[in-house]
């Protein structure tokens, strides 16, 4: 296994920055949230983000609290989707912001700050998952057909109910219940908007591996979406 620095530099994906605050390929539009986690966080007028960042880089604790307030929701949601566990997501969010505090002075503005922080958080999650044993080997192994997960299991006629509207809760639940390797690639590609070459660089696997694992993840979600409503009924 490679040593993975949590710095955004560790995921030097080619092709620029896919996750921009203003021009993201994702549909996330609510990441800038003027919430106040504590009394030290003042409301930030629009347009002063750069000033807050500059002050935080200079060691201003109040400015750092403002940065936390602005980005906590997106980072926590990212962690939650990647690990599917609330307690772990909280710990990883804390670790991501702790890393941010250590490294914020090294941010040079080569990419949007949100992009930089986003990748820093992804690296924190990846390091965590590797410590738990989710290695590239296990990702590769996950691609091998097994009696339970093999492609043959997904064979069957399409379910026309899926061609209409999809139950959001059922989909969120299905994503959270994906095996870790599948969920990781699905979240990075289909929700966060990363390209396969970027995911391959982050996960240290081949582009083909990323593509076929994404396909399998979608198949598993399809199976789950066909099962949940029948088993439990719609809310």
């Amino acid at each position: 296994m490679h040593a993975h620095d949590a710095s955004p530099r560790a995921v030097t994906a080619a092709g620029g920055s896919p996750i921009q605050m203003q021009s993201s390929k994702t549909t996330h539009t609510a990441e800038v949230e003027p919430a106040s986690p504590t009394e030290v966080v003042a409301q930030t007028p629009a347009g002063s983000d750069a000033d807050v960042l500059t002050r935080a880089q200079a060691g201003d604790h109040h400015a750092f609290a403002q940065l936390y307030s602005l980005h906590k929701r997106r980072i926590y949601s990212l962690c939650l989707r990647m690990v599917g566990n609330v307690a772990e997501a909280e710990d990883l969010t804390q670790e991501a912001f702790l890393q941010l505090h250590r490294k914020i002075a090294t941010f040079r503005g080569d990419s949007a700050f949100s992009t930089w922080l986003h990748r820093l958080a992804i690296n924190v999650v990846l390091m965590h998952l590797r410590k738990k044993g989710l290695s590239v080997i296990s990702l590769d192994e996950a691609m091998e057909p097994t009696p339970e997960e093999g492609p043959g299991r997904s064979f069957g006629a399409p379910d026309l109910s899926l061609t209409g509207s999809i139950d959001r809760l059922a989909l969120e639940r299905a994503i959270s219940e994906l095996p870790a390797g599948y969920r990781l690639i699905f979240v990075l590609h289909d929700i966060e908007g990363y390209e396969h070459n970027e995911i391959a660089a982050m996960l240290d696997c081949s582009i083909g591996n990323s593509k076929s694992q994404l396909h399998k993840a979608r198949l598993k979600l399809r199976d789950a979406m066909r099962t949940f409503p029948r088993r439990e009924g719609r809310r």
Binding site: H28, A30, E90, T93, F97, P151, F155, L219
Partner: protein
């Protein structure tokens, strides 16, 4: 090697992940072009992916997380100075 034109749905779907991994555009695979079931399956998978893209990050961390973070930052600062 199987003749792509004479594959059954089961044979095609068993190979789909491998084909996609190799970079092939399965939407123009000879089997898919002649099979409404497998075309519909691919559409379903795209529908799921599209729906996932509509999912917003709606989760807030608990308020106590900032307190924990602040405490960890202070602890690091003390260790650095000490």
């Amino acid at each position: 090697m199987q003749d792509p034109k004479n594959m059954t749905c089961e044979e095609f779907q068993a190979q789909m992940a491998e084909l996609i991994g190799s970079g092939e555009d399965v939407s123009v695979h000879p089997h898919v072009l002649t099979c409404t079931l497998c075309r519909a399956l691919l559409n379903e998978l795209e529908t799921i992916a599209e729906a996932a893209r509509q999912l917003f990050p709606v989760e807030d961390p608990p308020d106590t997380l900032w307190e924990k973070l602040e405490s960890a930052i202070k602890q690091e600062g003390n260790q650095t100075r000490g």
